[in-house]
Symmetry: C2
Subunit: 431 residues, 2 copies
Amino acid sequence: MNLTQSGRRRFLKNTAAFAGLAAAGVRSASGQMANLNAPPSGEKDLHEYGARSHYETSIRTGSLGGYETTPTGPRQRDFGFRTPLQNSAGIITPASLHFIVSHGYDPPDLDPRHHRLLIHGMVDRPLTFSVEDLLRLPSVSRLHFLECHGNSAPSGAPTAAARIAPNATVQDTHGLTSCSEWTGVPLSLLLDQVGVKKGATWIVAEGAEPGKHAKSIPIEKAADDVLVVYSQNGEALRPEQGYPLRLLVPGWQGINNVKWLRQIKLVDEPYMFMMETTKYPSVHPDGTSRWFEFELGAKSVITRPSGGQELPSRGFYEITGLAWSGAAAVRKVEVSTDGGKTWADAKLQEPIARKAHTRFTFPWTWKGEESVLQSRCTDETGQVQPTINVIAKSLNIEVDYIRKTSAMVGDFNAIQPWRVDRSGRIQNALL
Amino acid sequence: MNLTQSGRRRFLKNTAAFAGLAAAGVRSASGQMANLNAPPSGEKDLHEYGARSHYETSIRTGSLGGYETTPTGPRQRDFGFRTPLQNSAGIITPASLHFIVSHGYDPPDLDPRHHRLLIHGMVDRPLTFSVEDLLRLPSVSRLHFLECHGNSAPSGAPTAAARIAPNATVQDTHGLTSCSEWTGVPLSLLLDQVGVKKGATWIVAEGAEPGKHAKSIPIEKAADDVLVVYSQNGEALRPEQGYPLRLLVPGWQGINNVKWLRQIKLVDEPYMFMMETTKYPSVHPDGTSRWFEFELGAKSVITRPSGGQELPSRGFYEITGLAWSGAAAVRKVEVSTDGGKTWADAKLQEPIARKAHTRFTFPWTWKGEESVLQSRCTDETGQVQPTINVIAKSLNIEVDYIRKTSAMVGDFNAIQPWRVDRSGRIQNALL
């Protein structure tokens, strides 16, 4: 993962490389010594379990939405909190900043000593598993991204306006994806243990929160790379991520990854839950909609420099971002700094894992001209991230329809352009 | 990273695989529903920046040590806090649980807007860099472990007793190593910018804490894979890990990885700091000691089942642990469950990165017999993790010397045996 010789030479050859960077020469680094007389409060606790610096203020953004009245009583509204990708580095999202989409419920308070996962339905031997049971079984650890299928969609009430606004940040546009190292037990192993009966073609997974979110998943996927996960980034799952157990369905729309997992039922048809039949299918202009779409497309976005940021001076900037695909590993990321006229390969950071975020970097020198920065992902299956125009064409709709309608267009993976104006200000240039 | 067919068959063929696991059959998972009327306090903050479940109590262990009187006034004692490896999963250590070794000082309160890194000495152009400057430069993200060279050493006052005790946990014995995804700028790039003068053969790196820990490092290493790091696991470095900047010296003794980095000076000889000449060199029985040892050896340890834990019943258990080497990537980990009489290859989890922890797993069925579990790492250079007897022989000392002396024997990478007795209790069996 060293800079290649040619890459380094390209960087160093550029005499403007450090313009605006270190012009001040030697400055004293004093004045920042610790004050030994004022230890931080709760010092002992921070040695036991640390916290970030009080200077760091990057947070998830979103709103809880409150409650709505329904015939059966008050119901907590859906809500989403977005990862601050503009401050991301590498491919790991800190658990504290992992995006949250919840269909109405804050994390239930599940005691891992009492929580059980039940696997039943069309099986030979229904079984329950405690967390401790699962910890004894063969485990795998894998790098995988999660993504809400509405992530980056330029439509969908009530937040579309914020996402297509010129001042949208990458957190606003793409903050509903995150990547972690997940550890758990392959679901295939548990299915082997319960003995799947002939004719069982789907699983239905259900959470333990009051709303009992449930999802139908074809058994081919369930027996492929799906995990029952108990750990994220080296420690127990966080409550917002399904503590103590969640389903991890690599590369598929976030909604499949059932949190607070309490049962998996083997069945012979999908159960047509509300989320599968009303909320999530994309409605097209001709009134049809696509049901049971699962796999997320090849996608990428530049995280820095990005919308809402400002270049303080001309000179060298590393362009960096994330790429991923629900189908495979990322093969290539190209970057354009001239609005798509010319493209060049970005450098990919290792590790490059299947169905995981991949970090890319690209050297760029800004000479003060207006520039449009964008990235394009190609995955190992050959899928190439499209422009918004290509997507509109393939759906047989006008870009204008995408701009104006609040109907959900999910699985939107268009190239994201950021416009740098002559003052260095960066804006969303998708529409 | 799927279980191999043969591995799965081996697991499933074993009819005792689930003994003691799911015997209870179908149990209700009710009674764990959330209480909507009692939302957790600080709820809003947890959506912005999450925290772990209140059921999770795994912590770093250690003690601050207080202050000692010196001719120049009170001095904070050295202290160490250990990572709870018994609860680890995958290879990422959560930043909140990363081990801490500090030579006398809690994190200084450094404001990243004002902090500067100065590179000077035998250079053409001394330069300072702010954190923002560094964020503009070509970056790399890498998985690397850190390890205190005293980690797992069965001697060294004042904590040797706890480490060689039969009831020592893997946190007690091996908790001074952790692994993260680090992001920063290659030091080689910064050295190219300042222009290293002929004759400069070492760098001296210094921290901004009151004690100004400093370390001499040969320039060959500095120009190889050393990083100036600003990010750990996707967010800013934690204060205990050097916020806002630290040196990352892959594969070398922890003490080289200067935290709160404020200056790097190019010099023509090592500076013989106290830590290099008195505290860290290993003293041998003949009175000689080794100076300027750097690279950590091939090492591994079983993290579960491990010391202090108890097997609740006979049946299947996955044995899992971590392996690493300061020289290269891990090539192979073998596991023995019979005290070293027979060995078999463990499965290595991807990613397997150079100078990073690698997670290994091994299926095991406990039939109630006394067992001694241990793992052995071989790295890509062919280095094989030795037994304590082999280490003693190579140092021309008796194992008894290692047991009894409190003289520091650093870089101790012996195979760690855990003894399981007939009741299922697990104890440290090193000595």
